[in-house]
Symmetry: C2
Subunit: 354 residues, 2 copies
């Protein structure tokens, strides 16, 4: 049986605190389901590393982690010490681009025992995925500035959509929709305002839909779509969007379910030509770092997604179930959820439930 090699990168702040709990739960689930995993630890992609070396990662980072089966990532960024464009573009965004992780995947799910800001919704009502294009679109590097410091000054930045880039994310999203009971895909657009790239996106959605006759699909402009996340979160099953729209929806969705602090994410290269990155949605959280009170569930849930991506569905599912059962049992919870358990206690509780 194959042994998986996982690159472990705790990163900054609470990333370092929640990582041990993620690993704890992964070890238990692996053992229980006969999954063989080797964890290799790396200290780069962190402020500490940057301070010593003047860059976020070693020159040979690709050789170091490019052959691993996946990357298990804590959190990166510490805006007070190092600008985002150095820390994020020097690690996370580099992974996305250079490992061609063109899918950013996040669940939006109302979990038992997690207070949602929405009125009158119960677990089971909201359960969908946001699929975000992760390499092109609005996050391009084409553009510039002219006539600086005059009244004529202007700045442009291009949104870029390629046939290859759009089609592959849509294919992933349609396939995901097809694999689910509701078989329903929603596309985020804004073709009534963004009149060149967005009509193209719509056109490719329509073309792709023809090859998935079993999937019902619809589309909403991003403005009313964000409104519908709040008003009708039960309408959605799989939602696909461009880099920017997906970014917005995959923060708003977890916010609506109260899970922004515990939601997981995957930056995925579906062809497995490169390792995919699994990381909690939350960042390094400098404000609470060092206190041992961070909620490790986002890290743990990301581990479940990683196992599922590797094909170890049972092991992945056992972790998600353990999280749900831990949350349903209201006695043990971290501060963000109104309790006073520490990070380790919460990690141990989930591990026991696996």
């Amino acid at each position: 049986k194959k042994q998986y090699r996982i690159a472990v990168i705790p990163g900054d702040g609470i990333g370092k605190e929640v990582m041990p709990e993620g690993l704890r739960v992964l070890e238990v689930a692996a053992k229980k389901h006969g999954v063989s995993v080797q964890f290799d630890h790396f200290d780069f992609s962190s402020y500490d590393y940057y301070e010593k070396h003047g860059q976020m990662m070693p020159d040979d980072w690709k050789e170091k982690i490019g052959k691993h089966d996946a990357i298990y990532f804590g959190a990166v960024g510490w805006p007070a010490k190092i600008p985002d464009h150095v820390s994020l573009w020097g690690s996370l965004i580099k992974f996305r681009r250079e490992f061609d992780q063109y899918v950013n995947l996040r669940p939006v799910r109302l979990m038992p025992g997690v207070p949602s800001p929405l009125a009158n919704r119960k677990p089971g009502d909201i359960d969908f995925w946001v699929v975000r294009e992760n390499t092109e679109g609005e996050y391009s590097s084409v553009g510039g500035r002219m006539f600086p410091d005059t009244d004529r000054e202007f700045v442009t930045q291009q949104t870029v959509m390629t046939r290859i880039g759009v089609d592959r994310i849509l294919k992933f999203a349609f396939e995901l929709a097809q694999s689910r009971p509701k078989k329903h895909l929603t596309s985020a657009t804004k073709s009534n305002g963004i009149s060149i790239t967005m009509p193209y996106w719509d056109e490719r959605v329509e073309a792709m839909a023809k090859t998935f006759p079993g999937v019902k699909w619809d589309k909403y402009h991003i403005d009313i779509l964000t409104a519908n996340f709040v008003l009708h979160p039960d309408w959605f099953d799989v939602v696909v969007g461009s880099n920017l729209f997906g970014d917005i929806l995959s923060d708003l969705g977890p916010a609506c379910t109260g899970t922004i602090g515990i939601a997981p994410s995957g930056n995925i290269n579906p062809e497995r030509n490169f390792p995919s990155v699994f990381e909690p949605v939350h960042g390094s959280a400098p404000d609470i770092a060092g206190q041992g009170i961070a909620n490790p569930i986002g890290m743990i849930w990301s581990g479940a997604m990683m196992f599922e991506h590797l094909g170890e569905k049972e092991a992945g599912k056992s972790i998600v179930d353990a999280i749900e059962r831990t949350l349903a049992e209201r006695t043990l919870r971290t501060k963000d959820l109104g309790g006073n358990a520490d990070t380790t206690a919460c990690g141990k509780a989930v591990a026991e439930m696996v």
Copy 2:
């Protein structure tokens, strides 16, 4: 005393049904506060007009309405009959561009008696404005497609920010913030991902802030900002964003307060070189058009904003107060708010409260 000339354009669908109620209330408020208004009615900017003339507006539309003090607008668009890029770009977006209505302004306000999708919020908790840049940014006409129908196909569209365009919307937003008790401005950005235009936006915000030392300001990336609209709507006072970000926030905000069906908006040229357009946030609503059941409050509230823009603060305020009192009195409400009053009855009720 000056007589205001208002161009009245009901447009399509429920626009035609709510307009008479808007006018009814405006007449009452005008009379009460000694405001002299003349209403000139126009049938263009509608599907009916398009059907007869093959275009949305007459060639001389600018001469016809360009000298009015304001435009009171119902709704436009009927996607099943006419594509959005014809109907919207042939009227609404034309007004914005050619009348230089560079401010799009919308209130986000929890109203008494309106069910909000958010848990545990009461009237008074949420009360802010979204200020949206309305002429440039992501809604540009620069871009195109190459290598159609091949694997090399790509499409680009530029986001364009000009010094003049960015500075004037920021100035408007800072001034609005300064005029309010909290004096707090929030800027929507995404400079960690959209790496050329958004850092420029941030730079201009910082520069403008220096000339408004009395205003406290902060900024959030658009992804977490949409999350905070749901999680912490009480944090905001005035929120300013680019054309796209403002568009999203000004639908999401009213959704969070349950007022998407009754919220007003202004497309404003602050210098009054051209008429500004005041219209409800809702569209023409083909699904309920013709039944006389549409809620006229968005139209009426837009009239209040129009009076305020014209400098008739008292008259405007009396209308907003009348709306609040009508909503607080739960017996009379239209279907969308769970009642069975028709459009006219609701309009009359508000008129009586003025």
